[in-house]
């Protein structure tokens, strides 16, 4: 007599340990989602639609934006909110579909590490960015127009 394999992990309630973050994760997705709609729609409009659209983007364009604290804060917020929002979404999907406990842990670990690394990297870039770095002569033309002559 053969049996069809059970469709997914058997029903056995695992014991809860520590704080239950699920409720807060659910709240975060909605709260950050609303803010992100504003931030990303603004980001897309300024970078992709207004002026020349994507053709206008180069080093001088980014330097011009980040010379203002307004866009620094805007992009910093977008970086943190979007990466945590995305990483939490990926965590949810992994929880839904990974049948193996080990594989689930590995994948969640990978998502967490990549998100954490990129948050650190992105934050450092925004705060240590110099719109007028000292560059080789052939790159001088790439600097924004407000830079002092080198």
């Amino acid at each position: 007599m053969s049996t069809v394999e059970a469709p997914r992990s058997p029903y056995a309630r695992t014991q809860r340990s520590g704080t239950n973050w699920e409720k807060w994760g659910w709240m975060y997705m909605r709260a950050s989602g609303v803010v992100l709609v504003v931030l990303i729609f603004g980001h897309l409009f300024v970078n992709m639609v207004s002026g020349e659209g994507v053709r206008a983007i180069d080093f001088a364009f980014v330097a011009g934006k980040w010379a203002s604290p307004f866009w620094q804060v805007w992009d910093l917020l977008m970086l943190w909110l979007a990466l945590i929002h995305g990483a939490n979404g990926m965590r949810t999907i992994i929880n839904d579909y990974s049948s193996s406990v080990t594989l689930g842990k590995v994948l969640r670990g990978a998502v967490f590490l990549s998100a954490a690394a990129l948050i650190v990297l992105g934050t450092l870039v925004i705060f240590t960015f110099d719109p007028c770095p000292s560059v080789s002569p052939e790159q001088l033309g790439m600097l924004p127009s407000f830079c002092p002559p080198q």
Partner: protein, 139 residues
């Protein structure tokens, strides 16, 4: 009594189970997941390419110029489409969760999401298509 004989279908039975025939609620969820995963992976790449501004203006400009090729231009249309759907459908989900009439109007709200998506894409496409054409012409 009248007898009607159903014509035999040539369709082969599907090998696995049938696909669940959910309504707009299920398919909007499927789209929400797919667009969400796609946006997440783009976000990882996008932060890395933007981080090149710390390396040198030359490196950043070289990578960002690949974003301006016609092929990437088409990809950007897909990306913007995915982001717009994810954002608008996300707002619909929030209304379903927090607005007392959200559940009742969820299907109507889905079609509003599709409508707004079409309007916003219509706002974005002229600029993007113009850019793609300029790139194709090498200007």
């Amino acid at each position: 009594m009248s007898a009607v004989t159903a014509p035999r279908s040539q369709n082969k039975p599907r090998p696995g189970g049938t696909l669940y025939r959910g309504y707009t609620g299920m398919w909007s969820w499927v789209l929400h997941r797919i667009t969400g995963v796609a946006i997440f992976f783009f976000l990882l790449v996008h932060i890395l390419d933007t981080a090149l501004v710390r390396v040198s203006p030359e490196a950043y400009n070289a990578v960002i110029s690949t974003y301006k090729t016609p092929l990437m231009g088409l990809g950007e249309i897909g990306l913007v489409g995915a982001i717009l759907f994810h954002a608008l459908n996300g707002l619909r989900i929030i209304l379903v969760d927090f607005w007392s009439k959200g559940v009742k109007y969820q299907r109507t709200m889905f079609w509003i999401v599709i409508g707004l998506w079409v309007v916003l894409m219509a706002g974005f496409l002229p600029r993007q298509i113009a850019n793609i054409i300029l790139e194709v012409n090498g200007q």
